[in-house]
Symmetry: C2
Subunit: 422 residues, 2 copies
């Protein structure tokens, strides 16, 4: 396609999304729920077609020599298709945030003010290879009454199209506009440029979902507001007041349960005052679980399984069975280290001293602070939000897990009885 054709295509998608958003804002909870249930049923009914399309993506992946991890992210099978359908049902069952009364109060002049949730409008989602994001993102946008413009990775184009067709069928089965969830039909990169730069009139907010490179590009280039998801450089701090058993279990779980997710711990900070008692048992457990250890000079001196960390280690998201370990001077040392190196995602403190816990949770400015719990709980589902589109690391509009509620705005309704302002 020529650049001009893409501009015209995206402009048309934008207009259709706006029109669909107007209709969606008026859709009832029951209509949205029916659409989501119909989508799930269609996904299940078309499993074999989806798998055939997925094979085309996999064949192309093999041709382009995609790495094992990337190929795995792309691959669908019966269980993964079922998980997509089940995810749609979870979102269907969840509470509709639109129309929620957030707060209300009375004024001395008799005005009654209330604040109620409304949809945001049109949400653009730019993502990479996982085919399930097509369904997850579309469903969450719909739940919150928003129209969605989805741009998936070019590696998963056949799978995404097959899944998207099921979503549209679910929408129309429930009497909602098929344009409520649109998938950019071209692989051309100029379409992403259009979403970032030229569609401010149509797109209210952009959500990048993918690796560091994608997020950085969207946040740097977008002329539309972005809910960004940076990497997770998550810390676990073990205070001298920590219960050793909890510290060992949480450190191992935070790093090793799944090493490839953004809520995995990348750095362990141990209170210098607990080095003699806590460090060794924690490192024993980590090493025993197969974790490679990189530490500062003090940690290396204390334990010869640890190799010397370089400055870059403290700001590296390994997403692998590797952990950097430093000794710090109590909670203030931990706060300082985290302030310097954290990406603002999730940090944990293991401590029994309530004053230390209070200081940590007050002074550390990350989206999620875990007290005596694993960083791997940083997840919308674990928070009870039903589903999430990611963990926002910015501080604007939404922070932490982004579920349907975070994809809404609000308006004020003021009830009077003829009041005029003096």
């Amino acid at each position: 396609m020529s650049n001009q054709d893409i501009v015209a295509l995206m402009d048309d998608m934008g207009k259709r999304a706006r029109a669909a958003a107007m209709q969606l804002a008026r859709a009832s909870s029951a209509e949205k729920q029916a659409a989501l249930m119909a989508m799930a049923a269609t996904i299940r009914a078309r499993e074999s077609e989806i798998l055939v399309e997925n094979q085309k993506d996999l064949a192309a992946a093999d041709e382009h020599g995609l790495s094992g991890a990337m190929r795995d992210r792309l691959a669908l099978d019966h269980d993964r298709v079922e998980a997509i359908a089940a995810g749609l049902e979870t979102v269907a069952a969840f509470k509709d945030p639109v129309g929620d009364l957030m707060e209300e109060w009375d004024r001395p002049n008799g005005l009654k003010i209330s604040r109620v949730r409304v949809p945001l409008g049109v949400i653009g989602v730019i993502y990479e290879s996982r085919p399930n994001v097509t369904a997850d993102a579309g469903a969450l946008c719909l739940k919150a009454g928003n129209a969605a413009i989805l741009r998936g990775g070019s590696e998963s184009v056949f799978s995404a199209r097959a899944i998207h067709a099921c979503l549209v069928e679910g929408l129309t089965a429930a009497g909602l506009p098929g344009d409520a969830i649109q998938l950019v039909p071209t692989r051309d990169r100029a379409a992403v440029g259009a979403m970032l730069q030229d569609m401010a009139e149509y797109i209210d907010i952009l959500i990048p979902r993918g690796g560091k490179g994608l997020n950085a590009r969207v946040m740097a280039e977008a002329r539309v507001p972005v809910i960004g998801h940076l990497e997770g450089i998550c810390h676990v701090y073990v205070d001298k007041s920590a219960d050793l058993e909890k510290a060992v279990a949480i450190a191992v779980n935070a790093k090793m349960r799944r090493t490839g997710i953004c809520g995995t711990a990348e750095t362990l900070l141990v209170d210098r005052a607990a080095a003699a008692t806590h460090l060794r048992p924690i490192l024993d457990a980590l090493a025993g679980a197969g974790c490679a250890l990189r530490g500062d000079a003090d940690v290396c001196a204390a334990d010869d399984r640890v190799t010397l960390a370089v400055e870059e280690d403290w700001s590296t998201e390994y997403l692998d069975a590797i952990l950097s370990v430093a000794l710090v001077d109590g909670v203030d040392g931990a706060v300082e280290h985290i302030g310097k190196y954290s990406s603002g995602h999730t940090e944990a403190i293991i401590a029994e001293d309530v004053a230390v816990v209070e200081r940590f949770t007050r002074l550390v400015d990350s989206a999620i602070l875990m007290v005596n719990a694993s960083t791997q709980y940083a997840d919308g589902g674990e928070f009870g939000m039903g589903a999430e589109i990611g963990i926002a690391t910015g501080k604007l509009h939404a922070r932490g897990p982004v579920g349907a509620e975070q994809l809404t705005s609000y308006k004020y309704i003021v009830h009077g009885s003829g009041q005029t302002r003096p």
Copy 2:
């Protein structure tokens, strides 16, 4: 100053703001309150110096032939200086939003999740000639624990500097960093460009406060998130179920109480079914109050005081004693007209029929919907927010009156007892 000097200057201001924001986030409510009270006292003590500096701005205004309205906005006298001090005291007395527990819930696995308010960080405010904005904006940012970088209009540079000096004195008197509220010291327009384009590392959010031109420029050019304040094209809809007395009083108040504010009504919509009963008395009252009337063909035919409106009238913010008037087909006609022409600020409905009111408040997507009350109540003070920095017309992060609470973000604190994720 050379462009290079300005870049260096703004870079330095950004660094200092970041450092101040770190300290402010940890400041107690009492410290912030003490600073605001000290600022008010200093403003009062230095009234004569402030007025001398204001005279310099006024002399320059006369030299440049500034219009009467602009000159009036710029001018200070005893009462206006007193109002600035009183405004600081109002913000001081108001509840500190930082640390507020927004919600909390328990999970089946025993995790206790809470969401608490935290400061946003560094807020850039770009405003025009009113000198009081220096104090209002600085105070609100401080109240919410944010550092502020203020860029006032070049017409009010002497007044703004004099007021800013009082703010810094108040900060340091309370032991808070003077850099918490910085005023861009140069009139050079390149400083605004730097705030819009080059300071994403330092400025978390930009708030333009001023006319349509300023807002449009900031929203178009900023590479930092913006809380925008577009014009207010506010509507009053009079339904056939309206109480005539309320309709007359509210229409006159909404238009004529103050014609120059963003919450003033610009268009009156009258239910065609009420044209015979309601239109004439309302237009009589408006004309009697000195309002010029422009109407559609039907309104012109019904009342010869009305001149024919052109298409542009329906999207014009007159900010003057002029009102456009149209007949519409009931509440759905009103919703359609408002959807087409409104700027999303504030609309009012005058109606006694609860089903009609419900339909209007559900279907109209503006920041504030008034039911049987004047649009001129669209104001943070009238909402009980203490003070405001403007009325946001966007849907992201903050919508409607922007007070201290709207200048915050939040974080999650999760209390566990050793939980690890299965």
